[in-house]
């Protein structure tokens, strides 16, 4: 018989499964574990795309539609393709004066990142943020929850390269 390896659907990584097991222990009712499980799926799949919802449904043995109804009710979840890493670049007065707009250009030319957009490889998403309280060390940006200050083009690239 000819072998035709079936394409494996993406499922949870071992790390995510460990987190899911923890959650399951906390909530004896599977439906109650749904919202925390959706956060994990979001981390794992980038956003709540149909595969992510299906994986949650399968893991919690809930109907797929129930998972989708619940997920779409909440706007706190990512319902659209988003970059894996959220870059929030400050362009308020201090940072602007210290060269934030140059950095903005760098992001565009090197990473294809326009404000509000996502890089073509899905690695970064850019939002032009308001002041993040680092005016003394500008230009500053947040990548996910990490603060990076005193940026120039070289440091920007260095920092971003540490996020995959």
């Amino acid at each position: 018989m000819k072998s035709e390896k079936s394409q494996r659907e993406k499922t949870f990584s071992p790390g995510a499964l460990t987190r899911l097991e923890e959650i399951k222990k906390k909530y004896p009712d599977k439906r109650a574990a749904l919202m925390p499980a959706l956060y994990i799926a979001q981390d794992e799949f980038g956003w709540l795309r149909p595969e992510a919802l299906k994986a949650v449904a399968q893991y919690l043995e809930l109907p797929e539609m129930t998972v989708r109804s619940t997920a779409t009710f909440y706007s706190i979840y990512k319902h659209e393709q988003a970059g894996r890493n959220m870059v929030r670049l400050c362009t308020n007065v201090s940072c602007m004066v210290l060269g934030a707009s140059t950095l903005k250009g760098t992001l565009k030319t090197l990473y294809g990142l326009a404000p509000g957009g996502t890089s073509p490889d899905g690695r970064f998403q850019l939002e032009i943020g308001e002041c993040i309280g680092a005016c003394d060390r500008g230009p500053a940006m947040l990548v996910n929850d990490d603060l990076h200050t005193e940026l120039d083009t070289k440091k920007l690239i260095q920092v971003l390269e540490s996020y995959k």
Partner: protein, 872 residues
């Protein structure tokens, strides 16, 4: 007694009821949108608000229970103002498309707007917009019209148990859709569109074709697909069925239908229907006059009778034909042609299963009300998936699960995977062995009830296998068995649903004895899966080689004489040939066959043998509505009428006789002249000199009621709304208690290779039914081609992918099928249905006969599965 007052009217209530129910029962109408009698209380739309004294705010009457001393007003100015504002809010977004909406005329929102008066909208922003979804072949969703009553979602989740649709997003963006957002991946029960109060979810089958008030007539009749016998409403215009819908609260289905029932009617209007009799001339079937064809059929049959004797003629009765037609059929065969070689599809398992149960518990052992299923403490399904074969019965099992009852599935039951509480996933064909394990566990923890000492003695003498043996053979572990048994420990009543494969089995008697023993211990009602609408009727009408109408043995002289006297002929006391034997002996002792509404060349195992048998006959007469594989081989073909075109009765699996109503007059101006099956048989019978003075099917019921002790005194008029339950009106023979001391056989455990070898399983898909549904367009839209369903695990074992074309071959034949992955199917099993011409899976199965009943047991040998090259 709860005494309340509504609008000054004093009302006394016997039991608990909501204010809404109390009002409606006493003729006071309160408008509702989200409330539906089939669904649980909701209170979402606020249309039903009423004023209740001493309660400061308006109350939703659909959720407030009536309490003693309550004083309710349903149409005060305050209430009317509230309802008007509810309507105003709904009309902010509901588009005013009534002139083009199919629902206009039967739309609740429209009616209420007319009643309470339209208001000038004060909302200046635009209406919400959604593109109409026509991604699905059968169901169209227009979410701009949706009023968010969630009736459809509640129906899907809580009644149908399919969880296929849900509310997506929130606030003004909320709407209802399936997971995919487009095409449905569901059971196509159609119940969502039946409960939609507006035009948001609608059927595409009859879209834009008519207005509800333009119907010529609506006719209540019985569905023709399976043995549940659901009541359905046919809406007819210009001689064609426009729409099929259930009637809420009525019939055994109480307002639910399945995909076949609601979308499967299309075959009736198929252009491929036979329109004239056909006679084979020079090897070709050619249209002929009725007279010529009838005379030829009669002359040739009698010639063969005179030449070779009556036993050279055999007949197959029809599971889709009415009781009356089957009665006349066996009368023609027995009295006209002198043959007891009469059999039917009931031979494929139902008859044997029923006979074995009746041996122990007496006639009517499986005559129980489907509505009792959710009321019993536990439901056990054995070797069947009622949600596929008898979908509306399957819903009762799901209802039981929802009510917190125990649901145990023995063997494969995919449709109950979300609803069962316990499962004994025995390998296919080993369900009986799993029952043996369950019984031995039950005997450890439960006392025998002491009602039937003889049967209890037999149960004690069963040689039950050790649990390890059960595990090796069935794959069901001791822990599963003891878990299931302890769950059933405190059950005081239960329902058991069994598939025909239990009786189409080498150990049929063992299987049914075990089933009976478990049922006896658990105080069970039995239900037997019945795949044809009148399979039970076939048994009752004596369409069997050894019984006469009334299902009593022809060998009994007193009983036989009764019929001999009435029919004016001597009957052969010897039982005739069973279904498969007729074909095995064709060309030899059997020279001619008469087949009514059946397609043995396609619907029986051993297809090669059956086809060659039909070819060996001297003479073959077929009555059918389509040119089936069997009809194509006939010498004379008579066109007959479909279920919606005739009167008569079906007997469902509860043994309830129900009346069909004629919805379509097939011969309005005698343009085409078609006869009902019994009329064709009668014309031949009369020519053969039989006394068949029937002018309507009610005359046949009258004759039956005079002769069959089972139907004694039954009149056509008795079969009003709810039909007539067993024992009809007559007296059943209580001939139970025949309990042979039967050692329960220990089947040998299969070798490891055998246990892992792929097995071929005859699938009974929800969306198709034998060969009729091939002609029903909408069902083809849901499932257009034959599929080989298997689990992804099986797929990786066989190294095939979802959607691949594979060729399956056995000793019997070979066919190409498209692989469809379905999670949760048993590993190693390949499910293929017998529904499509080129790829009817029965063509892969041979059979062996169960020695006692001659029930064919499906067998396959030399199974090979290959990837079809070039078709990927």
């Amino acid at each position: 007694m709860i005494n309340i007052s509504i609008n000054g009217k004093k009302i006394g209530l016997e039991g608990p009821a909501t204010v809404l129910e109390a009002a409606r029962r006493h003729g006071i109408d309160i408008p509702t949108l989200c409330n539906h009698p089939a669904l649980e209380l909701w209170g979402g739309c606020r249309m039903c608000v009423v004023e209740i004294e001493k309660m400061p705010r308006l109350q939703t009457s659909c959720t407030v229970m009536a309490a003693d001393g309550m004083t309710v007003y349903t149409e005060t100015p305050r209430v009317v103002a509230a309802r008007k504002s509810v309507l105003e809010f709904l009309l902010i977004n509901h588009p005013l498309q009534c002139p083009t909406c199919d629902k206009a005329g039967v739309c609740k929102l429209q009616d209420l707007t007319v009643k309470y008066g339209a208001v000038a909208g004060r909302f200046e922003e635009g209406k919400r917009t959604f593109p109409e979804s026509v991604d699905d072949p059968l169901i169209v969703r227009n979410m701009e019209r949706c009023i968010m009553c969630t009736r459809c979602v509640r129906m899907c989740d809580n009644v149908q148990g399919a969880f296929a649709i849900g509310v997506v997003n929130k606030g003004t963006r909320s709407h209802v859709e399936p997971f995919s957002g487009g095409r449905y991946n569901c059971e196509y029960c159609g119940n969502c569109l039946n409960v939609c109060p507006v035009g948001a979810i609608m059927s595409r089958l009859h879209r834009y074709t008519y207005r509800p008030w333009q119907m010529d007539k609506t006719v209540k009749t019985i569905c023709s697909f399976c043995g549940v016998g659901c009541t359905q409403l046919l809406e007819v215009r210009s001689g064609a069925i426009q729409k099929v819908s259930p009637v809420f609260g009525e019939g055994v289905n109480k307002g639910l239908l399945c995909g076949r029932g609601i979308f499967g009617y299309g075959y009736v209007g198929s252009p491929e229907r036979l329109k004239t009799p056909l006679i084979r001339k020079n090897g070709v079937l050619e249209p002929a006059e009725w007279d010529e064809a009838l005379a030829l059929a009669e002359r040739k049959m009698l010639e063969i009778k005179n030449l070779h004797g009556g036993r050279a003629i055999a007949g197959v009765a029809g599971g889709r034909c009415t009781n009356e037609e089957n009665y006349v059929f066996q009368k023609l065969l027995r009295a006209g042609f002198g043959s007891n070689n009469i059999d039917s599809v009931a031979r494929l398992g139902l008859m044997h299963a029923q006979n074995l149960l009746e041996d122990i518990f007496g006639q009517g052992a499986a005559a129980n009300l489907i509505s009792g299923i959710p009321r019993s403490d536990a439901v056990i399904t054995v070797a069947c998936d009622p949600t596929q074969t008898n979908p509306v019965m399957g819903l009762q099992v799901r209802a039981a699960a929802r009510a917190g009852k125990k649901v145990l599935t023995v063997g494969h039951a995919h449709g109950l995977r979300r609803h069962r509480t316990h499962s004994l996933p025995a390998h296919i064909g080993t369900e009986g062995m799993a029952l043996a394990g369950l019984l031995s566990e039950l005997l450890k923890i439960k006392k025998l009830p002491g009602e039937n000492p003889e049967f209890e003695a037999a149960i004690k003498n069963f040689e039950l296998p050790r649990l390890e043996e059960v595990e090796t053979y069935t794959g069901v572990s001791a822990a599963m068995l003891s878990g299931a048994a302890s769950a059933l420990k405190d059950v005081s009543s239960s329902s058991i649903i069994a598939g025909r494969e239990l009786a189409a089995h080498r150990d049929a008697r063992r299987n049914l004895m075990l089933l009976a023993a478990i049922g006896y211990i658990l105080n069970s009602r039995f239900f037997l899966i019945s795949e044809h609408p009148n399979e039970q009727g076939l048994i009752d009408m004596g369409c069997a080689p050894d019984t006469l109408p009334g299902a009593r043995p022809i060998a009994l002289q007193t009983f036989r004489e009764r019929y001999e006297e009435a029919w004016g002929v001597k009957l052969d006391p010897e039982p005739g040939l069973s279904l498969m034997e007729m074909f095995e002996q064709a060309g030899d002792t059997v020279r001619a066959m008469y087949i009514m509404g059946e397609n043995p060349a396609f619907n029986l195992p051993g297809r090669k043998m059956v086809k060659s048998a039909l070819g060996k006959l001297d003479f073959l007469v077929v009555q059918d509505i389509f040119m089936s594989e069997t009809a194509a081989m006939a010498d004379v073909v008579f066109p007959s009428l479909a279920w919606s075109e005739k009167e008569g009765t079906y007997t469902n699996l509860e043994k309830r006789i129900q009346k069909l109503e004629k919805a379509i007059e097939k011969n309005p101006e005698k343009k085409v002249f078609l006869m009902e099956d019994w009329q064709i048989l009668m014309e031949i019978g009369k020519r053969a000199g039989l006394n068949m003075p029937y002018t309507a099917s009610s005359d046949i019921i009258d004759e039956l009621a005079r002769l069959s002790p089972l139907h004694a005194g039954l009149g056509y008029g008795d079969l009003a709304e709810t039909g007539m339950m067993w024992p009809y009106k007559g007296k059943p023979l209580r001939m139970g208690g025949r309990i042979p001391a039967l050692p329960v056989s220990r089947a040998e455990a299969p070798s490891k290779e055998q246990a892992l070898a792929p097995v071929l399983v005859l699938d009974k898909p929800l969306f198709h039914s034998g060969t009729l549904s091939r002609h029903a367009g909408p069902l083809l839209d849901i499932m257009a081609e034959a599929e080989a369903k298997l689990s992804p695990e099986t797929g990786s074992v066989l190294e095939v992918t979802d959607g691949a074309m594979i060729s399956i071959s056995t000793a019997e034949g070979e066919m190409a099928l498209k692989v469809k992955f379905e999670k949760g199917l048993p590993v190693g099993a390949i499910f293929a249905g017998n529904n499509f011409g080129e790829a009817g899976a029965l063509g892969l199965f041979g059979y062996e006969l169960e020695p006692e009943s001659k029930t064919p047991i499906l067998r396959f040998a030399n199974l090979e599965i290959k990837l079809e090259t070039g078709k990927l």
